[in-house]
């Protein structure tokens, strides 16, 4: 489904030096797989996601989606960003319907689908609100609904719950898992939280910084559907979390 081959990304820093943000990254993601990417700040995990999205060009290497090379953004890959990135001048329902309207759907058809999605994320009552009138968690629900609306095959999520408080975060994790169980979209999920990565994913990719690279690819063999409350007492879950945390610490220590 997603094939990342020998991908490198170089930036020119303010001082005019070349900075290697990603060095020879290789990764294959299967159809319907939930893959998390985790690593310290500066390991290039968000950059990797932006390149898959086609928002940022690669310096070397290629990314193929179903065999076709990525040449720019496209509706087959739907992003969800940490800072929500909603269209502030549009109401909630207009935001969700926006992609459908762009694809030439009639207003009635787009709105009907938008309302359905808003119902799914529990924000039907807020259809005519502006984003500024919503809390952070509600905004992120709208952003997820907006992306799901145009039905991308792949979800690219860049620390989507990173700006939310712990309580809202667990709610949204649960909701995301429910949505994923139902639609089985391919998900690339960048996060800082090891617990979140293990809880949600089929695979956790551990990255290290300087230069940004993949150091570990761990398959999470926990039964689905998963309940967070049960996992907290699950030994396997705790082992995954401790192992991965240890790995990240070790790579950070060796880099320092």
């Amino acid at each position: 489904m997603i094939a990342i081959e020998h991908l490198s990304k170089r930036f020119r820093t303010a001082g005019g030096k070349q900075h290697l943000a990603l060095d020879d990254v290789n990764l294959d993601v299967q159809h319907g797989e939930f893959v998390s990417i985790i690593g310290p700040s500066g390991c290039g995990k968000s950059t990797l996601l932006y390149i898959v999205g086609g928002f940022v060009p690669a310096s070397d290497g290629a990314i193929r989606i179903n065999g076709k090379p990525v040449r720019g953004p496209g509706p087959d890959r739907g992003p969800v960003f940490q800072e929500f990135a909603l269209f502030a001048w549009k109401t909630v329902i207009e935001n969700v319907a926006y992609g459908l309207r762009l694809q030439g759907k009639s207003k009635a058809e787009a709105n009907e689908r938008a309302i359905g999605l808003l119902r799914m994320v529990g924000l039907e009552r807020f259809a005519n609100f502006y984003p500024k009138e919503l809390s952070g968690g509600m905004k992120q629900r709208v952003a997820i609904a907006r992306t799901l609306a145009y039905n991308p095959e792949i979800l690219l999520m860049d620390e989507p719950f990173g700006a939310l408080d712990a309580h809202v975060r667990t709610h949204l994790q649960r909701d995301l898992l429910n949505i994923w169980e139902e639609h089985r979209k391919t998900v690339l999920f960048v996060t800082h939280s090891v617990e979140e990565a293990v809880y949600l994913s089929d695979r956790v990719i551990v990255m290290a910084a300087g230069p940004g690279r993949i150091v570990k690819d761990i398959r999470i063999e926990l039964d689905r559907p998963r309940q967070r409350a049960e996992l907290m007492f699950n030994r396997r879950f705790q082992e995954y979390v401790t192992d991965i945390e240890g790995m990240i610490d070790a790579f950070e220590a060796s880099a320092a």
Partner: protein
């Protein structure tokens, strides 16, 4: 209510100082406020005055509209393209400190004292703050917002006007407001320098003929035009920016 009250107080203070100055100095060039105000109805009853005001407003709006459309486009291009900002920034920095009215003589020699030279000077006078704020606004639009639209399949030129423009609107309106008042100022100055018609010409004709009541009445009309324009502008801005944090709204929150 409170705002109207403070406005009336300020107006009262100005009239009081004016009246006191008139009594203290006894100059023919400083008529009593009441005389100036009573000259207003006479002045406004003359059809020429109305034509002058309309001529002024027409020129001002043509100039302002061109400055707004051109300035916003240029500013947004600079805000979203490094190349455009690198090319245009030095030019703008050079033009910025020049008093645009000082260019009036050149334009009069080239284009005469008619509409062309005046409208051109209004465009020059109004466009810089509009360009500058559109530029800052365009620069501050988060790339993730633009990417969100790009992922939906929106192409680059459409993104500039359908995403960057509305997202930058709160900042753009700041430039438009400054630009509006600058357009008014350059309009009056251009009519004073290149006298053919308009409210600026009316004002200086009154001065030439030593009709000081009339002169002050013309000044009051110009001041009222400025206040009215700004007031209308603010009403439009609030209407356009209902969605923005800059206009008040209640905040609802739930988990």
């Amino acid at each position: 209510m409170k705002r109207i009250l403070s406005f009336l107080t300020a107006l009262g203070v100005i009239l009081l100082i004016w009246e006191l100055a008139h009594r203290a100095f006894g100059l023919s060039g400083l008529p009593a406020p009441l005389d100036a105000l009573s000259a207003m109805p006479d002045l406004l009853r003359e059809p020429e005055t109305v034509i002058d005001v309309l001529q002024s407003l027409r020129r001002m709006f043509i100039g302002y509209a061109i400055a707004a459309i051109g300035g916003i486009t240029l500013g947004l291009l600079m805000g979203t393209s490094r190349l455009a900002s690198q090319m245009l920034n030095p030019l703008i920095m050079m033009i910025y400190p020049i008093p645009k009215a000082a260019l009036m003589p050149i334009l009069m020699i080239w284009l005469g004292v008619g509409d062309m030279s005046k409208i051109l000077i209004i465009i020059l006078g109004a466009s810089l703050p509009i360009i500058y704020h559109a530029w800052q606004g365009g620069k501050s639009v988060k790339s993730t917002v633009v990417w969100s639209a790009a992922a939906m399949g929106m192409k680059r030129p459409a993104r500039l006007f359908r995403i960057v423009l509305p997202a930058a609107l709160p900042e753009i309106f700041i430039g438009l407001r400054t630009g509006l008042i600058l357009a008014l100022i350059t309009m009056v100055v251009s009519e004073i320098v290149a006298r053919s018609n308009g409210i600026g010409n009316l004002l200086f004709n009154a001065m030439d003929m030593a009709l000081y009541d009339r002169m002050f009445a013309a000044i009051i009309i110009i001041a009222a035009m400025g206040c009215a324009l700004d007031w209308v502008f603010e009403a439009i801005r609030k209407r356009f920016l209902r969605w923005s944090d800059t206009s008040d709204h209640i905040e609802v929150s739930a988990g």
